[in-house]
Amino acid sequence: MEDYGNSDDEHQYLDDDEVDIDDNGYSFEAPATENMARASASSMVIPKESLLAAQMGDLLRVMDLLSLKEKHARTLLIHYRWDVEKVFAVLVEEGKDKLFAQAGVTVVENDHQVPLSQCSSTFCCNICCDDVSPQEVTTMDCGHCFCNNCWTEHFIVKINDGQSRRIKCMALKCNVVCDEAKIRCLVSARDSNIADKFERFLLESYIDDNRRVKWCPSVPHCGNAIQVEADELCEVECACGFQFCFSCSSVAHSPCSCLMWELWSKKFEVESLSLNWISSHTKPCPKCCKPIEKNGGCNMVRCKCGITFNWISGLEYSNGYIEVSEKRPEHGKWRLESYYHCHKLYKAHTESFRLEYEMKEDIQDKIKILGEKDTSSKDFGWIKDGLNKLFRARRILSFSYPFAFYMFADDLLKNEMTREEREIKQNFFEDQQQQFETNIERLSLILEENFEKYSEHQLKDFRMRVITQSVTADYLCRNLYEWIETDLLGSLKHSVHKIAPFNSAAVEKASKIPYC
């Protein structure tokens, strides 16, 4: 990619570049099989202080290729949303003139101001209608000339309006973007605060106008931005530790689609308060699942749906006697029809995730103790690996509840499946989910063991169990995820719900940008 300056054959260069993109695409989707495979580096962290350097990288590529000044390269890239490949593609397909015209770039060799300042008579500005001396006017690259005062006011109105990036010439129907150096010069003479604002907007355009770069949505904000290589549909982890969905900038939520997650979080916010009350004051009916509040009387409770059950045991009465019901909602197979249920389990698993995450330090301490012992192997990477697999599996499990709610219970995808189809899929889903859940709990239990006290023999056995169980959990995780991705979401006909491809290396950790 470095030799494009020498090559006159731009098409050749573009071909090379396209090969590069394909390579990246493949490496992104290829399943990283072992450990924390971060080498692929399809996402990068850009700390605030490196923003300029990152922006310069792209600017230089365009400046070199088209022999442009920085200001023109920036205008071009802002127009094409910092997509250097797109600039090159337009250049090849439509030519330089069109490329420049679309972005409002005019490159002039000679400066118009020279002849104007030579003429001695006064100049009448077409905007304010005042006569000014030729020294107080500015001509833009398009050739339009107005007085400095009008230009300055025009710039200030636009900057305050949040339009710093593409301030157009004042002349009617002129599409040319004003020279940033001239804007800077005129505005800073009037108001340095607004000039600073202008600079900041220009700099941040690299994030705000860039499809491949986003601010980390952490609160309080860590100051970092994340750049991804190719695919917008991915989940990344910022250097600050925050994991988020690159596409919607909220917390990483797969296997929920962005829309599902948005609906869920709104619903969750509104309903969790009342649901808290419901869960502490009511019990669900064993048959219809509706929450029931008991405000007095004996323990024989009759639900509106017609059944009578024992309040304490939750068991159904039949002819006055308790009949052992096969399915009790609290212990039995959970019912997707009920938001209450999905909500409860989502919350429970999110809480388990939090607790397990806290276990991380504990485990590191235990590993340290082991390391000080006289053991034959000092490599405990498998424990960390098991823990990371547990984190990922638990996270996916928690989000599989809101997913299930929208997939099977809510009306969101009502028109996508017949009732029979839905039931078949739902049963299969619940089956897999339950198996997955059981294995996560097993892995969690194993990792909780006090392995630092183990003898060499016990440790070997522990190692085997950790590895086997984490591989099993990971396998089930991948199965469930890919089934959701391809069969459930992939087969939707009327709506689009995409999720980030499964990557067993957990949410991708963004690597540090190389030039900082």
């Binding site: 905007i127 006011e153 109105v157 157009k168 004042m170 009617l172």
Partner: protein, 139 residues
């Protein structure tokens, strides 16, 4: 007509609006506020609005001509993102007059009327004529 500290541009525009008004358009500044204009636009001939007189209020904001004149709720691109300081009150009013000759049902203020216009233009034109007679005619 005290012009006070009125920018030269506004003074010049006002003078020209009064001395050589555009056909079918009159705009005169209010006595107490030279940035406030009472506007009358005649319905263009051969349009359903023919014979009607349409009254508008136009206000020039502090940063005019960097910002567009304020004109109430009219969907016109040059009053929004396509505004250029090189445009004038006169050009804006001419554009509004042109809009009366060729209404744009794709960018309506009222959805219902636009739907009506698209579904049955003949009938919509009749309604427009009727309303012009009822609400936009003198006497």
């Amino acid at each position: 007509m005290a012009s006070g500290n009125l920018p030269r541009r506004i003074v010049k525009e006002t003078q020209r609006l009064l001395s050589e008004p555009a056909p079918g358009i009159s705009a005169s500044p209010a006595e107490d506020n030279m940035r406030y204009f009472n506007v009358m636009i005649l319905g263009p001939s051969q349009s359903p609005y023919e014979g009607g007189v349409f009254k508008l209020e136009l206000f020039l904001p502090e940063d005019y001509p960097m910002s567009a004149p304020k004109l109430g709720r009219i969907c016109l691109d040059i009053l929004k993102d396509k505004w250029s300081p090189a445009l004038q009150i006169r050009t804006v009013l001419l554009s509004i007059q042109a809009l009366l000759s060729a209404p744009n049902p794709d960018d309506p203020l009222s959805d219902n009327i636009a739907k009506h216009w698209k579904a049955d233009e003949t009938e919509a034109v009749e309604t427009a004529k009727e309303w012009t007679r009822l609400y936009a005619s003198d006497g």
